[in-house]
């Protein structure tokens, strides 16, 4: 599956229950098509995504990790996504500093009404990750 000719990325997506997960649901009920490379995990808030949830799959060889949350100002818990944003800054700084490709980690604000945007974003991410190629950690034994 991960040979050069045909690489299908494995992408893990953490979606906030109130916005992006509902947006993904809307994409589904609207019968919008997007690549089936994404495995979704529903969280109550993007702010509940501990950075370790992102690090673990990356080290285990996931090709991309997506975090979806409500638009700034729209958090169901008022401020969760603002905290997500700072954690994302810290995490990507660390990934950059240690030589990981931080472009494998995406954070996007997608609301419950943006089913179309969800489908488009997933398509966009799969294309981008295909360009990056497989996560080298997938075959590294020294993690």
């Amino acid at each position: 599956m991960n040979n050069d000719n045909h690489f299908e990325p494995h992408i893990l997506a953490f979606l906030c229950n109130w916005c992006t997960y509902t947006g993904a649901d809307l994409a589904g009920t609207s019968r919008l098509q997007y690549p089936p490379n994404v495995r979704v995990i529903r969280t109550m808030c993007s702010g509940a995504v501990d950075p370790v949830y992102v690090l673990k799959p990356l080290l285990d060889g996931a090709d991309g990790v997506f975090i979806g949350g409500c638009h700034p100002g729209d958090c169901h818990y008022q401020t969760g996504n603002y905290k997500t944003r700072r954690r994302y800054v810290a995490l990507t700084e660390i990934l950059k500093a240690v030589g990981f490709d931080e472009q494998r980690v995406w954070l996007r604000w997608i609301s419950a009404s943006e089913g179309q945007k969800f489908a488009e974003t997933m398509t966009e991410m799969v294309v981008a990750i295909k360009e990056l190629g497989p996560n080298p950690m997938r075959t590294s034994w020294t993690v």
Partner: protein
């Protein structure tokens, strides 16, 4: 207020002991935390309630068995039980300020006593050097006077100290100014008027400040150069293919770095739970998928998680390097990564108790491009 401690018996150590005894006897503090000599030539941090014990005190000791911010956290927690004096090095003060922000210590009822810090040796090397007569206090104290690292013949300073560019304590109530000091001179002290009054000390002008400042600037500049060189070397290794894995290739996941880290305070650390007690099949599946798998696993996850949790607050005390049985330059790695995280948030750990920790605060109007389509 600035004053001078006249030299007693021609010995700076006896002079400082006398000053600390005065703090305790006049009731400025009810107990004092500092390094005490133990048999065998080492020193250990201790809390002293009886002034008689101060005859064994060695606040000028050039070793740092622990980052004492952890001890001050244990001594104060949410409320300090008494008026405490604590003698700390600059990096310990910075760590303490981070612990206060993390609600693991308080500065209320605490008198911070800071010393200019020429640096510290590894404990075992210090004891050996002391017994062999290679390390002397006079030599150590004169460090900055003539622009050199202390005792470069004999053991060298801990790696973190060789590249420490913050050797002067900040935010202290009492500052013993050792830099630029001959061992045969009175010791300049800066302290609050209130404490000076209780001690019956009056203002005495100190030697010209610019002389000392020149010494501090020279030392800081020299060490900053070492720091930049060391961190650049680490960054180069991190940027190489498989950089992080190769730097931690010899990590045995003993967790010493975490245990000695003053910032890693969590009582329920993820890595002390059963979260990584995988069933045996886990390893076999991983080995089949990758061809081979490192045992015990989760090493990089441990290091990356720790970076993620504490690098914003890393004060570069280097206890992790000293504690590492595999001789990994953990402190330099964490300092290199930490510097980048700290720069992203314009955050300087230990600078001020009122600077909020980067990950517990936010502004609505920041990094507004993040999360939007590119």
């Amino acid at each position: 207020m600035n004053t001078m401690l006249p030299l007693q018996n021609g010995d700076p150590l006896i002079t400082v002991r006398g000053f600390l005894r005065q703090l305790l006897e006049t009731g400025v503090v009810e107990a004092i935390f500092l390094p005490l000599e133990v048999d065998g030539g080492a020193t250990l941090p201790a809390l002293v309630a009886d002034p008689a014990w101060l005859d064994q005190a060695d606040p000028l000791t050039p070793v740092m068995p622990i980052n004492s911010a952890r001890a001050v956290s244990a001594l104060t927690n949410k409320h300090s039980p008494a008026r405490l004096g604590v003698v700390l090095r600059p990096c310990e003060i910075r760590a303490l300020i981070e612990l206060v922000k993390l609600q693991q210590a308080t500065l209320e009822n605490v008198t911070l006593i800071g010393l200019d810090c020429p640096g510290t040796y590894e404990v075992a090397e210090y004891i050996e050097g002391k017994h062999a007569g290679r390390i002397t206090l006079a030599d150590y104290l004169e460090v900055a006077g003539d622009d050199r690292q202390p005792a470069l013949v004999g053991p060298s300073l801990r790696p973190a100290c060789q590249m420490c560019d913050q050797p002067v304590p900040e935010h202290v109530d009492i500052h013993l100014r050792l830099f630029g000091l001959g061992t045969d001179q009175a010791i300049p002290v800066t302290l609050s008027d209130e404490i000076a009054e209780k001690l019956g000390l009056s203002q005495v002008s100190q030697p010209a400040a610019d002389g000392r400042q020149a010494v501090v600037d020279r030392l800081t500049a020299a060490r900053r150069q070492v720091r930049e060189k060391e961190l650049a070397a680490i960054r180069e290794r991190l940027d190489a293919d498989g950089g992080l894995a190769s730097l931690f290739a010899t990590c045995i996941r003993c967790h010493n770095c975490m245990t000695v880290c003053p910032i890693c305070y969590c009582k329920t650390c993820l890595f002390k739970t059963a979260a990584f007690d995988h069933p045996p099949e886990h390893y076999l599946i991983a080995a089949r998928r990758r061809g081979a798998v490192r045992m015990l696993g989760d090493t990089l996850l441990f290091q990356l998680t720790r970076l993620n949790h504490m690098s914003a607050s890393c004060v570069s005390c280097g206890m992790c390097t000293s504690a590492c049985p595999a001789d990994i330059p953990v402190g330099a790695i964490f300092s290199a990564v930490g510097a980048q995280v700290q720069a992203a948030f314009d955050y300087q750990p230990g600078r001020d108790v009122s600077d909020p920790l980067p990950l517990i605060t936010f502004q609505a109007n920041e990094w507004t491009q993040i999360g939007e389509e590119k």
